[in-house]
């Protein structure tokens, strides 16, 4: 594999995580528990979408076939998407949304913080900007997890269930990436983030009076393009209009 192919794959993984997460976040706008939260979730989704756009554009440059952000978002098939399972499953429960955001954004925060010193100038630039956005996402998710965990009996039970439901998808975030990219200081190796992310999440759970779930890890496979059956529906909805007018500009 050429170095560019590896880099392309690595950048796509980061981009698709952000894109698919933003796509799911968009669902919440007009459906949040209170108006302030519609605003906040839209903000978070917009941040993620912005990261996705920059990263996709960069992936397209690295690939060198002239594909831009929209070609990559709208005209790739499911098997070519590289996002983790954590972000792609449909969710309609606010507790689940916050459990997921806590796990995802805590991981993204540590990742971007480390990537800010990447030897790849574009990646370090993107990461340096994104880490500030994601710090807000972590804070937002943490506050809700604490409020819901230490709120009413009902919210405590629901928040614990939500956490149990999302926890199996945490492991996939720490799968190793291309060793050469790591050795070259381009990529961050996710296993190195594991203990920091876990500690930070556990601190939030402790304050929230929640327990760390004892559940089996999901198999995952998103980085290799093996997704859950929900991914196809997400893409059908996201891509249908663009694919219906392949020659159009918007």
């Amino acid at each position: 594999m050429r170095g560019d192919d590896r880099l392309f794959g690595y950048v796509l993984g980061l981009a698709d995580d952000a894109l698919v997460s933003a796509q799911r976040m968009g669902w919440w706008i007009s459906r949040a528990p209170q108006l302030e939260e519609d605003v906040a979730l839209a903000n978070i989704g917009l941040d993620q979408l912005g990261q996705a756009r920059t990263l996709l554009a960069y992936a397209g440059q690295v690939e060198g076939n002239g594909r831009g952000e929209d070609e990559l978002a709208y005209f790739r098939d499911e098997r070519d998407f590289r996002n983790v399972w954590l972000v792609e499953r449909a969710q309609t429960d606010f507790g689940v949304a916050m459990a997921r955001l806590l796990l995802f954004s805590t991981w993204q925060h540590e990742l971007y913080a480390a990537l800010a010193t990447s030897t790849d100038a574009t990646l370090s630039g993107v990461a340096g900007k994104a880490v500030k956005e994601v710090a807000y996402h972590v804070d937002h998710a943490s506050r809700w997890v604490v409020r819901l965990g230490d709120g009413t009996d009902e919210s405590h039970a629901r928040m614990q269930d939500a956490l149990d439901a999302e926890w199996p998808y945490l492991a996939e975030l720490f799968a190793p990436v291309d060793a050469d990219l790591v050795a070259a200081g381009v990529a961050v190796d996710p296993p190195h983030l594991h203990s920091t992310v876990l500690t930070r999440v556990e601190d939030v759970l402790a304050e929230a009076t929640l327990v760390v779930p004892q559940v089996r890890d999901a198999i995952g496979g998103g980085r290799q393009g093996r997704h859950t059956e929900q991914m196809g529906y997400l893409l059908a909805e996201m891509q249908h209009l663009a694919r219906s007018h392949p020659e159009a500009s918007w």
């Binding site: 894109l19 108006l35 302030e36 819901l148 919210s155 663009a242």
Partner: protein
């Protein structure tokens, strides 16, 4: 009239009424109803456009659309806050929306059938809203007027984005152009109805004008909107679905056809294409979120109690 003298004097001097000023109860009630309806319209108005967030045809358009729908939630927040300065509570106003006792703008009871509807809403619906709202920036009630200044600034940004969507479609493939024309054909008459019934059929207008809440009559605003929009339609290369539109040199305005309000009244009565869907979407979001709001309140109470304990101890 029966209004207190200091209030009448304030209005006569074109001053602003502030929350602590003396004001007639009818003035307060009228404002609460109008501001609440305006706030409700912002949050119900998130739905027709929100319907295309997941399907926006480019990532740039998706981002713009998410930001726009987010702005609508923000406008809702400003406006509920303005209403609360009049001694009402956001939760109560929402209950009145959910139970159907307070209304929202009927324009949001139409479906967004294609992507071009997102453009048509921005161009025509936000365009009409701006024409309605710009005079409200000089409304006699201070908090409302100030909220409208912020709202109008953002709305005119949205209106340009809607225009731009339609401009791109109109200059795109034949299918895109047809999509744009179709959306304009469906949105034009409902957007004219946003100015309300004709002046001779608008019983509350006179009092609102006297109180400095309303500055121009429905028909005057409608004419202003038509005058503003016809040249923009020409710039877009799209036609408006009214064969009677033509420039009237004598009046210095565009003539246009008679608005058929039968449909508007049906929609107001609840019989529009999406009335039930819009309200039940909103009610479901509210009910699904009840446990979350309860938890937030319970947590805040616990925290307050903990702080008190810490102080006492």
């Amino acid at each position: 009239g029966d209004d207190p003298a200091e209030f009448t004097a304030l209005l006569a001097g074109d001053g602003r009424v502030e929350p602590r000023d003396v004001m007639p109860e009818a003035y307060r009630r009228t404002l609460v109803r109008q501001i609440a309806q305006h706030a409700h319209s912002e949050i119900i108005g998130m739905q027709p456009e929100g319907n295309w967030i997941s399907r926006a045809p480019s990532l740039r358009r998706k981002a713009i659309l998410m930001a726009k729908v987010q702005d609508e939630a923000g406008h809702g927040l400003y406006l509920y806050a303005a209403a609360e300065t009049l001694g009402v509570d956001r939760a109560d106003l929402l209950d009145q929306l959910h139970s159907g006792r307070q209304k929202y703008s009927s324009i949001f009871n139409y479906p967004t059938l294609t992507w071009a509807d997102v453009g048509a809403i921005g161009w025509l619906v936000d365009g009409a809203a701006i024409v309605n709202q710009v005079p409200l920036c000089r409304c006699s009630y201070g908090p409302y007027a100030r909220a409208m200044v912020r709202v109008c600034k953002e709305e005119s940004f949205h209106q340009r984005q809607g225009f731009e969507i339609l401009h791109t479609l109109s200059h795109g493939t034949p299918a895109q152009k047809a999509m744009a024309q179709d959306a304009v054909d469906r949105t034009w008459w409902p957007s004219l109805m946003m100015f309300g019934p004709p002046d001779d059929d608008s019983p509350n207008s006179a009092q609102s004008m006297a109180w400095g809440i309303k500055r121009f009559s429905n028909d005057d605003l409608r004419q202003r909107f038509v005058d503003m929009t016809v040249p923009q339609a020409e710039a877009l290369g799209l036609t408006l679905p009214d064969p009677e539109i033509r420039w009237n040199e004598e009046r210095g305005h565009y003539d246009f056809g008679t608005v058929d309000f039968t449909e508007l009244f049906e929609v107001i009565k609840g019989n529009g294409p999406c009335n039930e869907q819009r309200l039940s979407h909103r009610v479901r979001a509210h009910e699904d979120g009840a446990w979350v709001r309860d938890a937030a309140n319970a947590y805040a109470d616990k925290q307050a109690a903990r702080r008190t304990e810490a102080v006492v101890a």
